[in-house]
Subunit: 347 residues, 2 copies
């Protein structure tokens, strides 16, 4: 398995843009190296953090059918990137494309979803742009501030660091499984999928973490990317089923599928995954207890370029291969799911 | 003619969002009142300026067929909004949706257009997000900084103020006419349409202007909106043909159409229109001469709620009516053009 960043198609696609675009000379990190873009705010020692994401493929795939989900997720996806760099949000701007003739109640529900996600994070929509098009698409751009020296990036993880996550995983997988397999609401309803950007957690962890990334593409993709960027690997000690949040675990149990599938598929749950040098773990855990912030130590950074789950039995995953399977998700989600489960049986 | 903001459909559509979304308590202006959103940057007396726009309808209408134009315009539209508040750009983030299977050369040309527009304004793309969808759409968000007290908004114009624009107008109309009427490249080529965001002009004018707006929707819409916001009107002394830049005038002449059509249609040229109190015009004109910045005094703010062109003959336009015609542009551009010309014959 190649450990190069460019072994992953998504990384190659991003690199292709940067063969044409020039980098801001003061940008505080390289391409791929942070969840949000970081540049100095003129005349201060602050960094501006800014990040933009479009919700469209999730709608086309049928993952988000309710306008309130679309709005909630548009804001959350970008705010989660601010969380992963340790920023405090300053505001959000929205670019919304709706089909001609979209009714008032749909627009209101979408706006209410955005509003609820922003207010849950203590921030506001500042303004935006509306367009008419064939398909619904919402692009949210979140702007935040990080005090000097307090930014987290994806680089800096070293062998021996501890690995933490900010909450139970697998909600993204449950949401996707619900749509692809037409699961009943009693098992998992669309409204059960309401990830909350971990802004407080990000700011709490920033002084302690060596690296951070959000699980917007699931835990396996997040750790694979961190591994490639830092030339390290990961051992996860918690069993995959123990990593799942209760409702996602219930879906895995009801379907009798490998709980790892919920971590290896690319629809994420927007928790933070962070690495912390051994000398700082006690202080971080004390700080998180004091703040009442959930934080689970799930494993460690290792020197080998592996992604290994050690419980209930040792399984070494090929993160690159699992990520490449996901490129086909947009073409046929049921086929992707079958391929993922077959691949996990081999790994 | 109602002078209320909500007599214009686009304003009503924006207001509908704000019945659901709450405003940032420190936002330095109301809805509709600035080209970019302005909020304090924490811990400083600076304002953050941020604005987002999607290029999609212009592609669907056939106005932009070359990927380089799409990229150039995506960056320019947002940077122009920064110019209109007097901001200096800090950077741009991009969200790009391309059809599956878009070839490498198309993506490169689009990126080259974004890069060229950013570098022309001394700024950079910081990062972004790419998606696959049915139609090409590019959302650019521009982030800028405005020092305390130096921001321009759309409010503050008073009767007696002088009216200025930062350059020749009508390029947007020429670009649209080219597409709708299949004009030959020799008359107006797509590459002739390369508006440049007037950032230096915005910063130069900010200390003198009472209000500012860009002509992203054309001069008539810009002045109509400024008039509604400030409960004033405008008299323009320059003849419409004299307001047109040379290539746009050549198109108007070749088609033998009323040059006012190029100012009243909604595809803009991204100049700034600004109002300046009489006591500051001499200082502004001296400053613009010193800086080598083009600035044309074209008329004045008046107390009546009118939009009047005084040369070569007096014509009083119904800005609200002209803007409402433009709502049909997306459905049938040739029909819109005929309706616009017929309406201008009546006004």
């Amino acid at each position: 398995m190649s450990r190069a960043l460019d072994a992953v198609a998504e990384n190659r696609a991003v690199d292709a843009w940067w063969r044409v675009l020039s980098r801001h000379p003061q940008q505080a990190h390289g391409v791929h190296e942070a969840d949000a873009e970081l540049v100095p705010w003129p005349g201060t020692s602050d960094l501006l953090a800014v990040t933009t994401d479009t919700i469209a493929e999730e709608i086309a795939l049928g993952f988000y059918r309710e306008p309130r989900t679309i709005g909630w997720m548009a804001a959350t996806v970008s705010l989660s990137d601010l969380a992963a760099v340790g920023a405090e949000p300053v505001g959000v701007v929205l670019a919304v494309t709706l089909p001609r003739g979209t009714d008032e109640s749909t627009r209101e529900a979408l706006a209410a979803g955005v509003e609820a996600a922003c207010r849950a994070c203590g921030t506001y929509v500042l303004g935006g742009d509306t367009n008419t098009g064939d398909a619904t698409a919402v692009t949210a751009t979140a702007v935040g501030r990080v005090p000097a020296g307090a930014a987290m990036t994806r680089t800096g993880a070293r062998a021996g660091d501890a690995l933490y996550v900010t909450g139970g995983l697998g909600a993204g997988g449950a949401c996707a499984a619900r749509a692809v397999l037409s699961l009943p609401d009693a098992l998992y309803a669309e409204r059960d999928y309401r990830p909350r950007a971990r802004l407080a957690e990000g700011r709490l962890c920033a002084p302690f973490a060596s690296a951070c990334i959000d699980t917007s593409d699931g835990l396996v993709a997040a750790l694979d990317q961190l591994g490639r960027l830092n030339d390290v690997g990961f051992e996860v000690d918690l069993a995959p089923s123990a990593l799942l949040e209760p409702r996602a675990r219930a879906v895995a149990d009801a379907l009798s599928v490998d709980p790892l599938a919920f971590l290896a598929q690319p629809h994420g749950e927007f928790e933070l995954a962070l690495t912390v040098p051994a000398g700082r773990t006690a202080a971080l855990e004390a700080a998180s207890r004091d703040a009442g912030v959930e934080l689970a130590r799930i494993g460690r950074v290792v020197d080998e370029p592996v992604l290994r789950f050690t419980a209930p039995r040792v399984r070494t995953l090929d993160g690159g291969r699992l990520r490449s399977l996901a490129e086909d998700l947009g073409r046929d989600a049921r086929h992707y799911l079958a391929a993922l489960l077959a691949e996990l049986q081999r790994q």
